[in-house]
Structures are given as C-alpha cells and as structure tokens.
C-alpha cells in the first residue's frame, strides 16, 4: 500500500515538474525524483487564499480567507495598501501611562511587547503588519540591549517608522532608519565625533559598515538576478573595502539626540530622546571630502545633514539594492531559495514601479506576492520549494487562525518564556545579524542540494523539543499567552475560539478539513491526517480534548512548520 501511495505521488510530481518547466520559471534539481509524501496541487479557492495569507500576513483567519477568495490576491493587496496604519506607539504609551501610575511602576519593560501583540491580534492592516515584521528582521535593533528595553516608546516609534515605510519608498526608509535615535544607540552612531588627531580619536565605523553590509547593498556586486558578478579570475567582486567604510564613517558624525540645546555639553551628555529623529551638531561633523563607492565623492563644505542625504542617495541608487533587498524580503515572506528569475522580476519592480519611480515598496511587495513562483501551486510539489517558517510566526499564526479572544480587550503578552523557548521574539534579536543568517545550511538534504534554510539555525535538538512542548502548553494547557503575573486567573482572560471546531468534532474528517484550511491551507498529507485521526479518535467523550489534540498535532507537524 505504501508503495502504491508513493507511486501515485511520484506521478503527480512529474506532472508538476512538467508544468513548472513549461512556464520557464525554474530548473528542477536532480533530486526532485526523491520519493515521499506530497499532495495534490488542486487547492480550493479558499485553500489558495489561506496559502496566500500564510505568506502575506502573520496568520489567516476565516474572515480574511473569505475576503481573499472573493477579491483575489491582487485586489486584496491594493485594498490593504489603503488600510489605516495600526501604529504601536499610541498603544504602548497608553500602557506605559497605566504602568507608571502603579505603585511599583509595574511592568514597563513589557509594554512594547504588549503593544506589538495588540496590533498583531487586532489591527486590520495585516499585510503592513507582516511586512514591517519582516523589515524588523532586516533593519535590526534589539531590546536585548538593556537600554532599548528601557525605551519601549522609542522602540515602538522605530517599529511605527517601519510600518509607515512598509508601503512607502525605500529611500525614505533607509534615511529614517539612519536617523532614528534607537538605531543611533544600537549601532552607536549617535554622538559619533569627527576625527581628532591630537586625541587619537576617529569616527565610529559601526553604522557605516552595517548600512552597507546589511541594510542596502551587501558585500558583493550582484547581477539583477541576485547572482554574484565575477571578475576575470572567477572571484566575487567586493562592493567596498575598509577605506570606504572609514570614509562613510565620517559622514555619520555629528548626530545627537533631538530636543536639547545644540552645544557640546548636550551633544555628549544630553538626555536621550528615543522618539524624534537625531539632529546634527555641525561642530562635531567631519567636514573633509568623503570618498564613497565607485569614485563618488561628497565634497567638503556641505552641512552634515546634506552629507547624510547624499550618502543615503548614493547607496539607494546602487544597482545591488533591488536584488539584495528583494532576495531578503522573498526569504522572509515566501521561500528560502528563490530562483534567479524570481529575484530579477522583483528587482525590476524595485528599480521601476512602472511609472519611473525607483524604490517603491508597494511595487516590490506586490511583485513578491503576485509572482508565479509564489502563487502557482505547481511549485508546491517541487521538493526545494518553500521555507521553514519562523517558530514565532508559527505561534502567532495559531492564535490568529483561532481568533483568540481576550475578556479584557488587551493582549498583554509578556513573552519572556515564549522568547526563551522559541529562541525568537519581536525586536529581540541577539545581534544586528538577526536570529539566523540568510545563508545558513542545515546538514542533510538541504545542504546536499546546495540550498539554504535560514530558520534551521535556531532549530536545534533543544528548540525542536521545547517548541513541541510549548505548543503542548498552548493547546492542551490553554497557556495561550503569558499575561499578568502568570496565575491562572490572568491567563484565563485569553482563550481560543474553538466553538466551531468543537461543534464538528464528531466528524473527524470535517474537523481536520476545517483546521487544514486554517493552518495548512489544504496541504496536510494523507499520512499525517491518518496520524491525527488515530490519535483523536479515542477521545470521543470530550470534544474539547479532541480539538486540543488535533491542534497539538497540527502545530507540531512538518506541514505546519514548512510553508510551501
């Protein structure tokens, strides 16, 4: 029986290969002949909508699935572009005010997390919230730096800047990131001083390096399809050397916190202002020429702010930005190993939105999500397609899919334990390099195929198990969020809405179909379906346990972990 099953799937797979090849979208690698379970690519309209929403949001729910099924992805994206922004700062500031009114000053450091969850669970601008979360893993600042944990309003302000620019222009995004005081603190270009030879002091190079390596152009010259350009000897061509870094470091001198008087004392020691862009103190700005990339020079004599604008424009107009950022965003939203053709289509949208505008984020996002390589279901049977979803996103997806309710109306998730277990939490990366590196290769079939799977870097023999135990606590334990002091009464304020699931739990296939639509967009394998059936079938006296058991097994299944 097993053999028949595999053969059946193999036949389907070869069909899919034919279709994908005919479209000229990618080359199917040799190991595509591998056997193993796969599933029909004939998804219903609702399942296709759910799949799209798994890429484009932090998690689908029945309402959103109906919306997308009705409008189609493209019109739905356009509608999302016009949604009001679900800003975090006003929510966080409200929470801060409430906490400060308490006798012991309450849980101030958790207020950013509360604000994040409030919008993730309730705000209708779901596409924007998803894109901003992706951007927060590219333009990284982290509350692992204690000072930023102590500035929840500032971190919320930074996140709102990402939300605003998610549908704006990349040039503005890069400029606002560069001038944000929390970034100035995190990558230490706030209070960065000009060269002083007598004191043997030179500008801080931290931000100059990372704005190029991580935020705009990357280390090597790229073709528009994301592959590296090679020199005559076949070696990759560095985009810059250390000379260019020391030069760019001079550009980022003279910035300090806003709001104080512009003088030396305030420049060095003024009160940090975490919610307004940094300002220029010309006296500490290096005035000499700055020789940047490919012979471009910023000449002495401009204001400091003009220097920064010119440098940001210079980087923004580098040919690498489209393929470099396109690749990074595809990896966050759709798949780990996009084909060169996919990257070049996204880069082209970045380079020109069709109206001659470069850097239009809407055009880039649309290009990523509407691309055949994201939408065409025939790709789902390509064994190299897809990505391991981030453990944190898998958790949020579950809560959103079950339309989690709060009796208080707030979702004040402290998230300390969640972070510890999942090795991931919003705005809490261990370093500016995010939770995982884009080129990480886990040993085994992925590395053997020469592919990458970044999220496996935080999937170890420890976190694989603690992740399962976490889902156990969330489903069976109904430990849905860490709210209040951790006593049962607090936690009972937040719960899943499983009424619909309970009502159909007498029919196992109906229950599984329902969850398959919400959690795995119709991709649950026949084998996994049988595993779940066998496990929950004996729980016939308690509909609730049947639902919990199904949820537990769904959320630890490979089909849920991997997005195809």
């Amino acid at each position: 029986m097993k053999i028949q099953l595999n053969r059946r799937h193999f036949l389907k797979l070869t069909g899919a290969v034919g279709a994908a090849t005919a479209l000229g979208l990618h080359n199917m690698p040799a190991h595509a002949q591998a056997v193993g379970v796969s599933r029909s690519i004939d998804l219903t309209l609702e399942q296709q909508a759910s799949r799209f929403l798994t890429q484009a949001t932090l998690g689908p729910n029945p309402t959103l699935i109906n919306e997308v099924a009705l409008l189609g992805p493209e019109a739905w994206i356009e509608a999302q572009f016009n949604q009001p922004i679900g800003l975090l700062q006003p929510v966080v500031e409200q929470f801060i005010e409430e906490e400060e009114a308490k006798e012991d000053e309450g849980e101030l450091n958790a207020t950013f997390s509360w604000g994040w969850w409030q919008q993730a669970m309730t705000s209708p601008d779901v596409l924007r919230q998803r894109v901003a979360f992706a951007l927060s893993e590219i333009f990284v600042i982290s509350q692992q730096a204690e000072e930023l944990a102590d500035m929840p309003a500032g971190v919320a302000n930074y996140y709102d800047m990402l939300l605003r620019n998610s549908f704006g222009n990349f040039r503005d995004l890069l400029m606002e990131v560069s001038l944000h005081p929390t970034m100035g603190f995190y990558l230490s270009h706030v209070r960065n001083r000009k060269t002083n030879i007598a004191e043997n002091r030179f500008p801080d190079e931290n931000y100059a390096r990372e704005i190029m390596q991580l935020f705009s152009i990357g280390l090597f010259e790229l073709n528009q399809d994301g592959t590296q350009k090679l020199d005559a000897d076949g070696n990759p061509i560095p985009t810059y050397g250390n000379e260019e870094i020391t030069e760019l470091a001079k550009v980022f001198t003279g910035l300090t916190y806003a709001g104080g008087n512009i003088n030396h004392e305030e420049f060095l020691y003024g009160e940090p202002n975490a919610t307004e862009p940094m300002v220029m103190f010309e006296f500490e700005h290096e005035i000499s020429d700055k020789k940047l990339l490919n012979g471009f020079t910023i000449f002495a004599g401009q204001t400091g702010m003009k220097d920064i604008q010119d440098a940001v424009d210079h980087l923004f107009n580098h040919d690498n930005v489209g393929p470099f950022m396109g690749h990074k965003l595809i990896q966050r939203l759709v798949k780990s190993n996009p084909s060169p053709a996919y990257i070049s289509r996204v880069a082209a949208a970045f380079n020109d939105n069709g109206q001659g505008v470069r850097g239009d984020m809407k055009a880039m996002i649309k290009a990523i999500l509407i691309d055949p390589e994201a939408r065409d279901t025939s790709f789902m049977n390509d064994p190299t397609h897809g990505m391991l979803r981030e453990p944190f996103v898998r958790y949020v997806h579950l809560l959103r899919a079950l339309e989690t309710q709060s009796t208080t109306g707030t979702f004040k998730n402290n998230g300390y334990y969640t972070h510890h277990v999942l090795k991931q939490y919003p705005m809490n990366s261990p370093s500016v390099f995010n939770f995982f590196l884009p080129a990480h290769q886990p040993l085994g079939p992925v590395a053997d195929a020469g592919l990458v799977a970044p999220e496996f870097q935080i999937t170890t023999s420890v976190s694989a198990v603690t992740g399962i135990n976490f889902m156990n606590a969330v489903t069976f334990g109904q430990y849905v969020m860490e709210v209040g002091d951790g006593d049962d009464e607090d936690e009972m304020t937040i719960s899943f809405d499983i009424a619909e699931a309970e009502s159909i739990s007498g029919n196992l296939d109906a229950l599984i179909d329902y969850l398959d639509l919400l959690l795995t967009y119709g991709t649950l394998s026949d084998e996994m379906r049988q595993v779940i059936k066998n496990a929950i079938e004996p729980l016939d006296e308690e509909p609730m346990y049947r639902v919990f058991g199904a949820l537990y097994l769904f959320t630890i299944s490979p089909e849920y972990a991997v997005m195809k």
Binding site: N196, E199, R201, P445, A535
Partner: protein, 471 residues
C-alpha cells in the same frame, strides 16, 4: 506496528547519518576507510592519566573582544606606547594584574585585565597560556603587500559574519559552513563507542565550528541538559496516544526537503535525549559555578564530561558562545563585567576538571571575530584583525605568551590604520596545534586544515605548529 516502525526509524537514522543524500557510494566508502585510519591513529596516541579521553572546549567571544585590553604591556616604556595609542581606552597601569612568564618570556612585562584574577592565577600556576596577535590569514602578509593588493586576504575582512565563520572554519578564502571541529569529528568520531550521540556538543545551538560533512552538533540546554517531549514515552492512556502519534509522524517520509529536515531534527532530538538524559542525570559536581549563562554552560560541559563513560565517549568537543563583545560603545565598563565573567567561568571549569581528575585531558581555548582598533572612536573601538586568545588546561605549556606580541605604537609595520594589526600567527597554526593534541594525525592535518601548508609543514622536523601544547 511499533516494532516495525522502530526498526525502520533506525534504518532511516543510520542512512541519514552516513549522508547518503548526494554522496556517491564510492566517496562514502572512501570516507569510511579514511575515517577508520584516522580513528586508529588517534587511538594509538598516549593516554592521559590512564584514560583514553580528550575534550576540546571552545569559548567563542562573539562580536570581537578588544583583546589588547585583555593582555596589556605593563613595563614603563611599552605601557607608555599603549597609553598613547589607546588614549581614553587605556587601562590604568597600576590596575593591571601582573603575570610572570616562565623563563622571562620576551623580556617585556605584561599584565592581564584587572577583572581577571583567576586567569592571572592559572597563568602563574602554568595552566593557562596566551596566544598573541593571532588572526585569520590566507597567507602571511605585510603592510605594503596588503595595501598594494598583492597578497591574498580573507573574504569579508573586518566583518562580523565572515570573521565569526572563518574563526570556526579556518578557511578564510572560502565561504563554507563546515567547521574544523566538524571535520575533526568526521575523521575520528568512530573512536566513540556510542555513535548515537554526536561527538560535538553545543551549549549555544547551531554553530559552524562543530558542523562537519557527516557531523551535526548535538545541542543541549545550559541548565537542563537534554530535554524530552512532555508526555512522550509514558504509560498512561494519553501518553500512549501521544507517543504513538509522534512516532508515526516521524515515520512519514516527506518529499519536500525542508519538511524532511524538520522531521530529521526532531527525531534526532528525541533519540539522543533518551540516552543523554539518563547518562547525565546523576552527575553533580562539588565545584560551585556562578549564576550566569557562561558559568552555567561551563557547568553543563563539566557534567557532560563527568558522564563520559555512561555516554560512551572518548573524544568530545564542546562549544560555548558568549555574545555581546562588539564594543563600539562603552568598551571599558562592558569589558570590566564581561572579562570578569569569562575569567571566573574558566577558573570554575578548571576546578571542576581537577575534581574529576581530568585537568590534563581537557583543553579549553578562546576565539573571537577579531581584536579592535587600538585607537578610540571616543566611546569604544572598531573592528580590527589580529588579537589575543587564551588556552587553558593541564596539557597546556602554560605561563607563557606564544607568538609575537606587537609593539603598540602608531605607524607600526603591522598597523593598517587606527591600530588594525596584521596577524603574525594564523588561526590555522593556533588550531592545528590543538587538533594534533586532540588526536588528528599529521598526515590528516591537511584534511582538517586545507590551508595549513601555507604556514606549517605537517610531519616536519618542527613537531608542533606553535608549541603551546605538551607534545
């Protein structure tokens, strides 16, 4: 059903262990032959303390430790140079903890950072050595060759991600995620009686150092060791249902590579936990460890070593990462705290090895992305290149500083600007010394360190690349 599943699972586990994936049968056989020879060599090496056990412990200070403030010249003239170039980052001369190299060292006086009394003491007792101005090198170079582009230099020099990787691969001219600890394990893991648990154990998750072509690290938790799935393997009704469900789930073969990898990781975690958990359960040490992540990790390393016989291990590597050394800002205060944590953890760990009678069998060494600019940016220091590292253990010829401690003045021949110093010792030399001690044969050194002949000829009259390990 269970029995069939079990045997199938075992078969799949072994198949994936041998990396059947894309490797041809021929290369698999070749590997096996090579591995057996290498392990046979390692097994013939003299046993230490009557027990055939050796461990290497890597403590990685991620972010780039400003190590010219960890080991500092203390004599008046050299200190004057140091103070001048480091300006506001210079430590006060009278706060440095003096160390006294055996045989007078290079004739200069040195001190260690004031927060490192344990390191000072272990150095003076001969159980800890410094290796100085070591860094990633494709080949030896000098300032004029570097500046004219005549010499080959590491990819992504001065960049964290590349330098962290190269300090673990020892191959700075390639981007390759196979580490030298992984290559070593590929060669000699068959020495271990137990092949179900990796020779390479990480307290800090996935890392390049311990990743081989056939070796993947086994991650454990600094506090709990290995962790099992709640309710798995139990006997009550729910536990039986759960166990059966998870076992059957992990038996499904997935065509999608990510789904199958996810299954492999989960299955490996469950199987290793069953053995590891019971082996390490009864190992408590008298030695007290501090209550921070680094000391906790070193404590768990010590407990794992204590369980080596139950685990069936003769060779092990351990990986502990301590993050947060990128001190563009606040370098003085942060180093005061963080070097103190390192020193204390090293002292505790050495004490625990003495308690187990294994201080001569276990060698601990530090790594870091790079040292930092000698000149200040007004708040901290920026990315540089060559720096100083520590090696600790009874098998170390301690109380010495190996390599050439550079003269710390501006315009020095090694200075590429701002006190970014060209390394005078390669990481290949530093690490191959450790690998030879660990049991890699001179004939196999090229396999573990493909670039080693640019710096040292294995099997030559010079029996050791540097000389800091007892032969």
């Amino acid at each position: 059903m269970t029995d069939i599943n079990k045997s199938r699972r075992r078969f799949i586990g072994e198949a994936s262990c041998a990396a059947v994936g894309s490797a041809s049968l021929f290369s698999t056989l070749l590997n096996m032959r090579m591995t057996n020879t290498a392990a046979a060599y390692a097994a013939t090496q003299p046993q230490v303390g009557g027990e055939d056990y050796k461990a290497l412990v890597c403590v990685f200070l991620a972010g780039g430790n400003d190590s010219y403030n960890m080991l500092v010249p203390r004599g008046n003239q050299e200190y004057g140079q140091y103070q001048s170039i480091r300006s506001d980052l210079a430590l006060a001369q009278d706060t440095l903890l003096p160390i006294t190299p055996f045989d007078g060292g290079d004739g200069r006086d040195y001190g260690v950072h004031p927060s490192m009394p344990e390191v000072q003491q272990m150095f003076d007792q001969g159980n800890l050595a410094f290796v100085t101005n070591v860094g990633t090198l494709v080949e030896h170079t000098n300032k004029s060759d570097f500046e004219s582009g005549r010499s080959k230099i590491p990819l992504g020099l001065f960049s964290h991600s590349d330098q962290i990787m190269q300090w673990q691969t020892s191959i700075p001219d390639q981007r390759n995620a196979i580490g030298w600890g992984g290559r070593t394990a590929d060669l000699i893991h068959s020495l271990n009686d137990n092949q179900n648990i990796s020779m390479n154990i990480s307290l800090s998750g996935s890392n390049v150092f311990q990743s081989g072509r056939q070796t993947v690290e086994y991650s454990i938790d600094p506090e709990q060791g290995s962790i099992g799935i709640d309710g798995y393997g139990g006997q009550d009704f729910f536990e039986q249902l759960r166990t059966a469900a998870i076992d059957s789930m992990l038996d499904i073969q997935y065509q999608n590579l990510f789904e199958q990898t996810f299954v492999n990781v989960t299955r490996g975690a469950i199987e290793s936990n069953q053995q590891f958990g019971s082996a390490i359960g009864g190992t408590a040490l008298q030695t007290q460890f501090a209550d921070n992540e680094v000391s906790k990790s070193m404590n768990m390393v010590a407990r794992t070593i204590a369980a080596r016989q139950q685990l069936g291990m003769r060779r092990q590597t351990f990986f502990v990462m301590f993050d947060g050394w990128d001190h563009h800002d606040e370098v003085i205060n942060n180093q005061q705290m963080m070097l103190g944590i390192v020193s204390k953890a090293l002292g505790e760990f050495y004490g625990a090895m003495q308690e187990l009678g294994l201080e001569n069998n276990v060698t601990t060494f530090t790594s870091s992305d790079f040292a930092r600019t000698l000149t200040s940016n007004g708040k901290g220091s920026d990315h540089a290149w060559g720096g100083n590292q520590m090696v600790m253990g009874g098998a170390v010829r301690g109380g010495q500083i190996y390599g050439n401690y550079p003269e710390l003045f501006e315009g020095n021949d090694l200075d590429l600007g701002r006190g970014r110093l060209i390394p005078t010792m390669s990481v290949d030399e530093y690490f191959s010394e450790l690998a030879l001690w660990f049991g890699v044969s001179p004939a196999d050194l090229d396999i573990v360190f493909p670039n080693i002949r640019r710096f040292y000829t294995p099997g030559s009259d010079t029996p050791q690349p540097v000389g800091f390990m007892q032969a």
